[in-house]
């Protein structure tokens, strides 16, 4: 059902008017759910993701528990009304199950799970509105929620996608660019430790393009990371006033 490919770069600008190295507009909020131990809402452009963290708590079912560390469980879901066009079935799809695993593995290196043996940390990521980059927004939101829950972490994890559209390396792809672009590479990292926790690549990049794209991704991650810290800090400064 692919429609004819639109022109993605016009006069050096992208379809939504951004420069190749620009992020979409970001909005973050933490501690918005009362029942969760930690929660966060992240909006990147039209993408809106809600993350909630529960735990460390008892493991149910018991046989899943690990004697030396806490298990981390993650569920990524897209709400039925989150996509354009036809309603998405609420049953978990193949893609959602895979992304749950991807997000969990992107967060695991940051969490000091050995401090809570035989416990579970549950991370829920719900996509309210999907417009490209939901997994990266999900990781960003989940790490904020983990920090809000007071779970010890080595660093906050921030994530962003880079890609190639019409031969140009661009940062933070939106839905159209993702759909018609030549390559899409989501990256997650812990900036103050300089460690990458997730890197996926869909499409083809030459080694040179890859290096350029990777550097651009880290630049974007740093910006998002600063934003995350600012939001967490603001929550406590606000009370002061």
């Amino acid at each position: 059902m692919r429609q004819s490919k639109p022109q993605l770069i016009i006069n050096g600008k992208r379809i939504d008017g951004r420069e190749p190295q620009d992020l979409r507009q970001i909005k973050m909020e933490v501690g918005i759910l009362k029942n969760a131990d930690g929660s966060a809402l992240v909006e990147i452009g039209g993408t809106k993701v809600l993350a909630a963290v529960y735990g460390p708590r008892e493991v149910v079912p018991r046989h899943q528990e690990q004697v030396d560390r806490a298990i981390i469980r993650c569920r990524y879901r897209m709400l039925s009304f989150s996509t354009l066009g036809e309603r998405k079935s609420p049953a978990p799809t193949r893609r959602e199950i895979e992304l749950s695993k991807v997000i969990r593995e992107a967060l695991e290196p940051a969490i000091l799970s050995t401090q809570f043996p035989r416990a579970a940390i549950d991370v829920f990521v719900e996509v309210i509105n999907a417009e490209g980059g939901t997994r990266t927004a999900g990781i960003t939101a989940a790490s904020l929620a983990l920090a809000d829950a007071g779970i010890p972490m080595l660093d906050l994890v921030a994530a962003v996608a880079v890609g190639k559209i019409d031969g140009v390396i661009v940062l933070d792809l939106n839905e159209v660019e993702d759909m018609y672009g030549e390559a899409d590479m989501p990256v997650a990292a812990m900036p103050s430790l300089k460690r990458v926790t997730m890197l996926q690549l869909n499409g083809v990049l030459t080694p040179d393009e890859f290096k350029k794209a990777f550097a651009l991704a880290l630049e974007g991650i740093n910006k998002i990371y600063q934003f995350q810290k600012e939001v967490l800090r603001k929550k406590y400064v606000e009370v002061e006033e």
Partner: protein, 243 residues
């Protein structure tokens, strides 16, 4: 507080680099290398200047992890033949043995354990043993421990219990003096109040909630005292307060 303290909010991933002249303390630090530490939770970071420079990092959020000797307030969530399971707001439920509670041997064939404590009952207990490989065990064999029969229970963030008690118990004695309530503070973030009347009880609860909210701001005790006096005046309990 008069000592020169610089206070900032530290976040996970913040690096603290120290040199020989600075000492550092805090439970939520991760040692990255010889002189570099990572803050792992949202915390307040105090930098004390003076003769001995030191950095103190205190967590603002986090679950309660049982420690031997802690006095905690638990709620019974399950009953078995010979022991109870209590929720102590930690990732692990705690065991209270019937023989410990009764102070004598207990035979489940002769007696029903529910006669003594049932689901929903509140207990003040001490953590007798905990090693992370098994569930924590509680004991009530000490002064002031046992089943709670009256009062009201307030829950706060476990990491902020230290603030409710205050330095050298300054906060809690101020609260007791001002509200005439009796406080039992469980280290796990539950506080039991026994108050002379409902007005004072309400004020005490408001004050505790305010402490929880503003735990990270310097000059807390004085502010809370002022807050309680204002609330009392508002409710017509006192006309004014002379200091």
């Amino acid at each position: 507080m008069s000592s020169p303290v610089k206070r900032v909010i530290a976040l996970p991933g913040d690096l603290i680099v120290i040199d020989k002249n600075i000492s550092i303390e805090g439970t939520n630090l991760y040692k990255l290398s010889e002189n570099t530490y990572i803050v792992t939770t949202i915390s307040i970071q105090d930098y004390e200047e003076g003769e001995k420079k030191r950095i103190r990092v205190v967590s603002l959020k986090g679950r309660y992890i049982p420690k031997e000797g802690d006095v905690v307030i638990g709620i019974i969530i399950d009953v078995t033949l010979s022991y109870w399971l209590a929720d102590i707001k930690s990732p692990y439920p705690a065991i209270l043995n019937a023989s410990d509670y009764l102070g004598k041997s207990f035979n489940p064939a002769l007696e029903n354990i529910r006669k003594y404590l049932d689901i929903g009952d509140v207990i003040i207990a001490k953590v007798a043993q905990f090693d992370r490989s098994r569930l924590p065990t509680l004991t009530v064999q000490d002064k002031g421990l046992g089943k709670v029969i009256g009062g009201s229970l307030v829950e706060i963030e476990p990491s902020k219990v230290g603030r409710v008690i205050g330095r050298k118990k300054s906060m809690i004695s101020m609260l007791t003096e001002q509200t005439k309530c009796e406080f039992v503070v469980g280290i796990n973030g539950r506080i039991l109040l026994r108050c002379p009347n409902s007005d004072l009880e309400y004020i005490a609860i408001l004050a505790i909630k305010k402490i929880e909210e503003e735990a990270h701001i310097i000059g807390l005790t004085e502010r809370i005292k002022e807050f309680i006096i204002n609330e009392k005046v508002k409710r017509g309990l006192i006309r004014y307060e002379t200091e």
